[in-house]
Amino acid sequence: MFVRILTVLLPVIMLPSMFYGLMIAGADKELGEMSRVIYFHIPPSWLLVIALLVSFIASIMYLIKENNLFDRIAHRSAELGLLFSIIATVTGSIYAYFAWGSAWNWDPKETTIVVLIILYIAYLALRSSMTNVKLKPKISAVYSIVAFITLPFLMFVIPRITNSLHTDGGGGSSLTAQMRIGIYGMTLGLLILYILLLNLALRIDKKKELSQ
């Protein structure tokens, strides 16, 4: 029932938010229409933190309870977090090309998100490299916890103590109230999409497990 409600809510929230951001909210004075790419950059950036946080909590829960469901949640949420990281990086590069003249500037936030992507690719590689069924989820869980510990330093600390082109790092343009409405709407829509995708992946995993 809950999934059905979310499936209905997804287009109801996401489409108007997208329409509002692309058509109604005012564009940035300096960048013009290209500034609207932020509706596809900031929400995935926030969602990646949520997805990786879920993976982190599920990993801790797995180590405590040893319930396979937590391992599956940790695994699938990390995959979705990785997906959101890639989307945020690509859309960020498009924004950077128009705002700062180059798609890649080795800005601290650009560098740290690449490290984050490598970190979670490493997590997935580590998972797939192990054959011991009993050890695989445990080792993956500890690695996921260690990986998440580095996230606050990567995403929030290092970019703020070094010179950055990003708004919260001292450069770029700030968001208007109109832009914020569009961004919050898109974030809520993506959050629903994340829950639905996670649910779908978990259902597929369960069916695979039952068929084996």
Binding site: L119, A125, S129, V142, I149, F153, V157, I158, I161
Partner: protein, 219 residues
């Protein structure tokens, strides 16, 4: 518990300085020597950033070599299972991490003056660079420990090692390179970066100690 830890640490330090682990360091030094000799002969001045990056790469790879060997040898020799019957896995883990960190500090204390001399940086910068070399080496050693343990425990293929270890150490490494460059250029030093390096390595070490008993439970 402290006396057990001291005994374990002494055993690990003896093993680590037996010579096998010096291979990684020798390779690093060989790379730096060739760069140090070839660059000035081609009349290319090595910038401070490149110099500090080279220094930390040597230290990192020496530490990687030492940590990988210490955990893998124990697991493949099946001595880890015997040790776990006598002492807690956390103590074994800590002794290995600290012995590897001691090894890395010794390498750093040896490498830093050599690099400053070879790459033509002012000798006057050396006294201020040595403490950062010690703190940075300790941070690298502590933060790599848990990942090395996990890889050895899971008997993962050696080729996956750099991919899994590097992203964990990279934020620390980037911060250390920035800090060392600031020391070499004698510009204003960002001590917040030093705090970040220490905080991150300690956080990773504490996570390792906290979750290791859960990992070893009923395995």
């Amino acid at each position: 518990m402290l006396s057990t830890f001291k005994l374990l640490l002494a055993k690990e330090i003896k093993l680590i300085f037996k010579g096998k682990d010096l291979l990684g360091y020798a390779i690093g030094i060989a790379i730096v020597m060739s760069i140090a000799v070839s660059m000035p002969s081609a009349r290319i001045k090595i910038p401070e950033t490149a110099g500090s990056a080279l220094m930390w790469l040597i230290i990192l790879f020496s530490c990687v070599e030492a940590l990988q060997r210490t955990f893998t040898d124990e697991m493949s020799g099946k001595t880890s299972d015997l040790m776990k019957l006598l002492v807690s896995p956390s103590l074994v883990f800590l002794s290995k991490v600290f012995s590897s960190s001691v090894f890395t500090i010794v390498i750093a204390l040896f490498t830093t003056p050599l690099l400053v001399l070879w790459l033509g940086f002012p000798i006057s910068r050396l006294p201020s660079m040595l403490p950062i070399a010690v703190v940075g080496s300790l941070a690298i050693g502590l933060s790599q420990g848990i990942v090395s343990y996990l890889l050895a425990r899971g008997s993962s293929k050696g080729m996956i090692y750099p991919l899994v270890v590097m992203p964990i150490v990279l934020p620390i490494l980037i911060s250390l390179v920035i800090l060392t460059t600031q020391f070499l250029e004698a510009s204003s030093i960002s001590y917040t970066l030093l705090v970040v390096v220490i905080a991150q390595s300690l956080a990773i070490l504490l996570v390792g100690i906290a979750f290791l008993p859960l990992l070893e439970r009923a395995v």
